[in-house]
Amino acid sequence: MALTLLAEHIVKRYGGVVAVRDGSIELTSGTVVTLVGANGSGKSTLSKVITGVVAPNEGQLLLNGAPIQFSDPHAAKRQGITAVYQDLSLIPAMTVAENIWLTHEPRRAGFSVNRGEMRARTRELLALFEGTVSRKLTPDTLVDTLPPDERQIVEILKAISSNPRLVIFDEATASLDRTQVDRLFELIARWKREGMAIALITHRMDEIFRVADRVTVMRNGRTVGTVDIAETNEREILNMMIEGAASPEKLRMPPVDPDAPVRLEVRNLRAGLLKGVDLTLRDGELLGLGGLQGQGQTDLLLALFGAIPYTGEVILSGKPVHFQHPRHAMKHAVAFVPGDRASEGLLLSRSILENFLLPSWRRFGVLHRIKDARAAATKAASDLSLVYSTLDAPASSLSGGNAQKVVIGKWLLRDPKLLLLNDPTKGVDVGAKAEFYALLRDLAAQGTAILFYSSDDDELLGLCNRVLVLQDGQVRDELAGERLTRANLVAASMGTTDEPR
């Protein structure tokens, strides 16, 4: 059954905030459309309108030419329309099989849930990603115990399990590693041939060109255009997205002055997934951590911040230290910027001011000198060129990129000497990324030592003086200068270098 779903001039307001001003998109069986746009441009909201999660205030949906309204996600599902949600829709306390088949469980005589068949069919679905996931991922695994990439895969399989006619993948690749992304794109190509209508929301430029037939671009809640993939290029799409804003530079950074003082020295660090890591980081250096996801990069950062127990030597500013709690690390001018800003980096319902000052209230006295605090926060906000209404507005009112600035800004008030960044630009739009990069370069130029984990190769290539590629808890390769190329980065992360260190 072929289908054409047309969203026309959709408007969606949340209270006074307009999330989508004029959203339009056409999705047809057997085609892949990527929906791109800066954060806050309304992509996710538009897709939620299509899948019935939210009802539009204005505009209409046409299914095969006939107007249709979805009262809830269930109604859309009945028409074969579903989504892989960015923030996932999994129940942590249920098993993989139970999650995948929730609301369309195979049943005996239309009554009791047939668990045997549910398991068997889950196994078939899991086979689609065979070889890219751990063996611990079985139908009976609790979702609660899965790492983010496997949760994402379960979410994808959940959407697919109902044999949908139309699927929207909202940032489905953000937490997947390279092999998993490759597999997903093979599957998407297959599903497309089988006649599925597919929409893909993504921030990764290369993905657009890998799978899409058409690109629909949104900006500030409006659909600004749809172009055939054959008739466009990266620059054009970028220009449509950011309206003339500077595109991220791709300059290779030179290695830092070898005489700069050593800020951090690590020897044989073991923690979590890490099996003995050595590294040296100098003042003013931007040291990147690369590799596939989940190779121990996050554990390295957490250990250095005293958030997880570790063994090995850590020498900070010439003195051996062993942090047992983030508080100790903070006292030594170490700052940590988490990857998941919504759950770890920000108090969303509290004010921007509070978020800025959370780690630094001590500086403003037992009875807070609130005027000084406000002045400091105002200065930080302007240093970061933060776009905000007032400092008293809740952090949730900020757009993604600006929220990320606050996550970093709150540590800058403490004047860190060592900055640990855990994949900070995940899900941040291109325009905001560029500003963020500039901020990091400024900090490095001022002498801050920065250890930067990123799942985005472009970032590592364009920003870092040096990159350590981790694989399986060890440093597989060190790339700097001439050797800092995409080919080497990919090769090292896949573990194919000739001379492992």
Binding site: H74, A83, L88, I91, L102, S112, V113, L142
Partner: protein, 322 residues
């Protein structure tokens, strides 16, 4: 692999630890009270326990669905008052059956009121059900201003019988467990656990979250009706505050049975075991000759310890790890 299986089993059967606790407590109780397992004594204790068991089952369903019902106790009072008004010593079997059905129906209506307010008006469950508990309390007083009422002696005898040497209550518990096994195998149960665990995710998955949430209170109402029936058959008469104290006990029993207060985890077997644990603890306190005036305090301390249990274990684990 094996460890994962054990974990999975424990996760699916949250009552295992409660069952162990119950066995230990029963052993202690038996050492203090050697006639504990005599049929007459056992039947007597089970008879007085059954109303709370039924009530705790309803409470467990609400808690699994992510809510809480503070009105079940006064709901029982109201329904007992209603039942003793409907039947008298001369009632025929037909009239009695119809009266019990009417009481269960009234319980369902009361549950609908709670469920509608919580699920559709989106009011806080704690506040809502605390407020409605006064409605039920008020109705109970209207129906039964003075303690009284009488039921046919045959009916009391029926409730006290022990077919094949097993107290009637055990047959009821068997029926409850069967009910749960059947319910657990339906799609509804998946919806119930999903809603209790993460209602946002459940909604996006296409689960009718509001209906599911409302239904849990309807179950609680139905089971309050059954509890009121059992209580009336057990005591033979009624008074307008007879069930008021059962609310806290029903919640404690649910927690003791391993059901998580944050929803989405647990079952009714645990709630049934929880009621028995509660009763056995009280027995032990009584037979251990704890002075009467400190029994309430000891009782309360044990309940607090039980509620704090999971949190305490986690805390100890964290400290030991360091």
């Amino acid at each position: 692999m094996n460890r994962a299986k054990v974990q999975h089993f424990l996760w699916r059967h949250t009552y295992i630890f409660s069952l162990l606790l119950l066995v230990v407590l029963l052993a202690v109780n038996y050492s203090l009270q050697d006639n504990l397992f005599e049929l007459r004594v056992l039947n007597n204790s089970m008879r007085t326990l059954l109303p709370l068991i039924l009530l705790a089952v309803g409470q467990a369903i609400v808690v699994i669905g992510g809510g809480i019902d503070l009105s079940v106790g006064t709901m029982v009072s109201m329904l007992v008052a209603m039942l003793v008004n409907l039947i008298d010593p001369e009632s025929t079997t037909n009239e009695i059956v119809l009266s019990i059905l009417a009481v269960c129906g009234a319980g369902i209506l009361a549950g609908l009121l709670n469920g509608f307010a919580v699920a559709f008006l989106r009011l806080q469950p704690i506040v809502t059900t605390y407020a409605t508990s006064f409605i039920f309390s008020g109705v109970a007083l209207l129906l039964l201003p003075r303690p009284g009422g009488q039921i046919p002696t045959d009916l009391r005898r029926f409730y006290a019988q022990t077919p094949y040497g097993v107290p009637l209550s055990f047959y009821v518990i068997g029926a409850l467990l069967l009910f749960w096994v059947v319910l657990r195998s339906t799609r509804y149960a998946q919806y119930l656990f999903a809603t209790g665990s993460d209602s946002q995710a459940a909604y996006k998955t296409g689960i009718p979250v509001r209906l599911v949430r409302m239904s849990t209170y309807v179950w609680a109402g139905l089971f309050a009706g059954l509890a009121a029936t059992a209580l009336t058959l057990s005591t033979g008469s009624g008074q307008a505050n007879i069930g008021d104290n059962m609310t806290l006990d029903s919640i404690v029993a649910v927690v003791l049975g391993g059901t998580s207060m944050s929803g989405g985890k647990g079952g009714i077997a645990g709630a049934i075991i929880g009621v028995m644990i509660l009763r056995t603890i009280r027995n032990v306190i009584f037979f251990a000759s704890v002075p009467t005036w400190s029994q309430t305090l000891v009782n309360a301390l044990i309940i607090i310890a039980a509620l704090a249990g999971p949190g305490l274990i986690a805390l100890v684990r964290r400290v030991v790890k360091k």
